[in-house]
């Protein structure tokens, strides 16, 4: 509930951004206010990045240069994770070998923070962020809450929907089943999902279902799970697992897709191998590219049609508590996260929703991104945003290693290897081991 009340403050900041534009740093104007842009801090720091086709070396180099140009005293040595998905594991390895970077981006703070390896941001330092109290770990804030991602809205092929006689996008679970039935009758696989080495692609629908059905009613469900007040094998959770299993048993999810990695999954949707693609809003950057069909987006349907928008705010930088130049590391992180050009680039390259006060979207964002952003904004306005199951990273998140178990449970439900009750028991058992 606290999360909802916090998010309720969001519209004032997000929607009235233009009026309050005092936090986003524009390249063209001198920075001021916080320490982030003082330009007086100096020191050598290491910065762990990761590369993807969108976020390539040139992207990071340009972003670093923008900050160091304004803070000439800061010298940055860029480190690159061997794999994009394995950046948190790589940070663990660097920590173990005494090479923990001074600044890291989009690395989960869980574990690092509890062990005292991360700097805890002070409230005054987070004044530029829309949700400064997102993702607390033992009451402190370690990761800059730089952006929000809605996970998962459902992208769909507009032409296929029209051809199948689906007049409106589904709002209720019954609507979704009805649409799936019509698509199936036309010989179209309703959902495109994945798996393989990118397990998260197999659990997207399950993440959406738990978020809207469980978190929609009990936002702190996972906190209660940590306190052993609820279990995965409780009737309401098993019912959600059963809904997911039902999709697979009806053939609405391709069982063979559980071995398909993320890149192939995205390509499968773009190749029109299925009608709907539940995925994080980062897909918008691809969806706004060139395709032979129009892509639409709708919120994950709920049982009764009420509005619930699963989202995750975080993903920003963390700073080592033992950085030799801690002030330089902090200043770099804050300047990087509030730099207008950097925020614009993250919007266009990675489809992110910057959670920085005063930030305004570039005028040339694509229609799919804009539609997704509008859905999120509506969720914020109506106080309907909840955490996304499996993607949380703080005190109210899954225990380390459990996200993989959720993916495995989703795959077992998809292939029919486990019943909903068995999958729930499996999750409880793995939770006990992870505790």
């Amino acid at each position: 509930m606290k999360r909802r009340s916090l998010l309720a403050l969001g519209p004032a900041a997000v929607l009235a951004g233009g009026l309050a534009s005092c936090s986003v740093k524009d390249n063209t104007s001198p920075s001021g206010g916080s320490s982030s842009g003082s330009g007086s801090v100096s020191g050598d720091i290491t910065f762990l990045t990761f590369e993807t086709p969108n976020l390539n070396a040139a992207y990071w180099d340009a972003a670093i240069k923008r900050v160091t140009d304004k803070n000439p005293g800061i010298k940055v040595k860029k480190l690159v994770s061997p794999t994009a998905d394995g950046r948190t594991d790589y940070a663990k390895q660097l920590l173990q070998s005494g090479q923990f970077p001074d600044v890291m981006i989009a690395v989960s703070p869980a574990g690092f923070a509890e062990a005292g390896n991360l700097y805890a941001w002070q409230p005054a330092e987070l004044s530029a962020f829309v949700f400064p109290t997102a993702n607390p770990i033992k009451g402190k804030y370690y990761q800059l809450p730089a952006n929000t991602q809605t996970i998962p809205p459902i992208y769909y092929n507009k032409k296929v929907f029209t051809d199948a006689g689906i007049a409106a996008t589904p709002k209720t679970w019954a609507d979704l089943l009805d649409a799936s039935s019509k698509l199936k009758a036309k010989g179209i696989t309703p959902f495109v999902t994945g798996g393989g080495k990118d397990g998260f692609a197999s659990s997207m629908i399950l993440a959406g279902l738990v978020s809207v059905d469980i978190y929609g009613k009990t936002p702190d469900w996972l906190t209660q799970r940590r306190a052993d007040k609820v279990k995965f094998s409780d009737a309401n959770f098993v019912a959600v697992l059963a809904k997911f299993a039902d999709l697979a048993s009806k053939g609405y999810i391709d069982k063979a897709a559980v071995s398909r990695d993320y890149a192939s999954t995205e390509q499968a949707f773009l190749d029109q191998k299925g009608a709907m693609y539940p995925m994080g809003n980062w897909f918008a950057s691809s969806a706004d590219g060139k395709h032979p069909f129009d892509i639409g987006i709708f919120n994950f349907p709920t049982s009764d049609g009420s509005l619930v928008v699963p989202a995750y705010t975080g993903g920003g930088m963390i700073v080592s508590a033992k950085a030799k130049s801690l002030d330089a590391a902090k200043a770099f992180a804050l300047a990087f996260q509030t730099d207008k050009a950097q925020l614009d680039a993250s919007v266009k390259s990675d489809g992110l929703f910057p959670a920085i006060k005063g930030y305004q979207l570039p005028t040339d964002v694509g229609p799919v991104f804009k539609a997704g952003y509008d859905l999120y904004t509506e969720g914020v306005q109506k106080n309907a945003v909840v955490h996304t199951f499996r993607w949380e990273t703080a005190d109210d998140g899954l225990l380390p290693g459990m996200a993989d178990k959720v993916d495995q449970a989703a795959e077992d439900l998809t292939t029919g290897r486990k019943s909903p009750a068995d999958a729930a028991a499996f999750l409880d058992s793995e939770w006990a081991k992870a505790s």
């Binding site: 390895q93 062990a115 391709d254 380390p400």
Partner: protein
């Protein structure tokens, strides 16, 4: 090491017959021998101690604790981790998966490799080229091989498209069907390891004396009989090498699993012990528990390898 050297006895001239010759023992100084040993053996021993023995000892130490680098402090828990492993269904599944995988990877490349080696044991440019073809997969990175086969065995990849072209309406989900995934994984490993077995058997075949084959042929032995009585016994060292190498590589398999299936589909269908060790240690951060798994894995590999090696070497001697 024998320390004493016995000098040859020399009868003393003029001594009465029947008296035992006097044996004189001479002890070489110890210090030069120690220095000799240290100068040659110490670097190797030191490297072995640092890179093999010490990590094993440290791992064993961790296995007796609840070590989690992200949840200090470390507490000594005795044999609790080992006790938990006895009842850990996931570990038992990993043990089963590893055993099946090992059996396939030891048997299939050995049998097929031997057959191919027999076919290629001829002279000529074609046979040389074919040897190169069979050996090529061995020099490829396991990750590259894994990525290639993942694409080939995709539900809509070339293999299934070919099957559909041949009229198979529902080709198998090679990597997505829990009933197939482990065997698909094993097949990929066999495909890459096959070249190694072929080369080792070819080397063994080069060492079979032609005279023995000819003698057997003169005695009326047919090709099968010649293989059974002459070739096969002389290939015993090659069999030993192939079996032990395949055994060890299969037991510690991680890379193929990580890239191709990530241990799935679902929970543990293709997760080997090595995969579970790394997932438990680095994803779940339970380093103490993962260390106990690693120690069990080490003991299993060591014992099984020792037994197999002993049996095969005894067979070599018997033959």
């Amino acid at each position: 090491m024998v320390a004493d050297v016995t000098t040859p006895s020399t009868p003393v001239t003029g001594t009465g017959g029947g008296s035992r010759p006097r044996i004189r023992k001479r002890r070489r100084p110890v210090l030069p021998r120690v220095w000799h040993f240290l100068s040659f053996g110490a670097p190797g021993v030191l490297i072995y101690l640092c890179l093999v023995v010490a990590p094993i000892a440290i791992s064993f130490g961790y296995s007796l604790t609840n070590y989690n680098p992200f949840n200090p402090p470390i507490k000594y828990v005795g044999l609790r981790n080992y006790n938990l492993l006895l009842h850990d269904q996931e570990f038992h599944t990993a043990l089963k998966v590893t055993t099946i995988l090992t059996l396939i990877v030891v048997i299939v490349p050995n049998v097929v490799g031997l057959l191919i080696a027999l076919l290629l044991d001829k002279r000529g440019w074609l046979y040389n080229a074919l040897r190169g073809v069979f050996f090529t997969p061995v020099i490829l990175s396991s990750v590259v091989v894994s990525v290639i086969w993942t694409r080939l065995l995709d539900s809509e990849g070339p293999v299934n498209e070919a099957l559909r072209g041949l009229g198979v309406h529902s080709p198998p989900g090679w990597l997505s069907d829990p009933d197939f995934a482990l065997y698909s994984l094993a097949s990929i490993v066999c495909w890459q390891q096959l070249g190694f077995c072929v080369v080792v058997y070819l080397a063994g075949l080069q060492g079979v004396p032609q005279e023995l084959q000819e003698a057997a042929a003169i005695d009326g032995a047919g090709p099968f009989r010649r293989f059974r009585a002459v070739t096969w016994p002389l290939l015993a060292p090659a069999l030993t090498i192939n079996t032990v190498v395949m055994l060890i590589s299969a037991f510690k398999m991680y890379d193929y699993v990580k890239v191709i299936t990530n241990g799935g589909p679902g929970a543990g269908t293709t997760a080997t012990i090595a995969f579970d060790v790394l997932a438990t240690g680095f994803d779940s951060n339970h380093v103490g528990y993962a260390s106990a798994m690693a120690i069990i894995m080490l003991l299993t590999v060591a014992v099984v390898t020792a037994i197999v090696l002993r049996l095969l070497q005894r067979r070599e001697i018997d033959l």
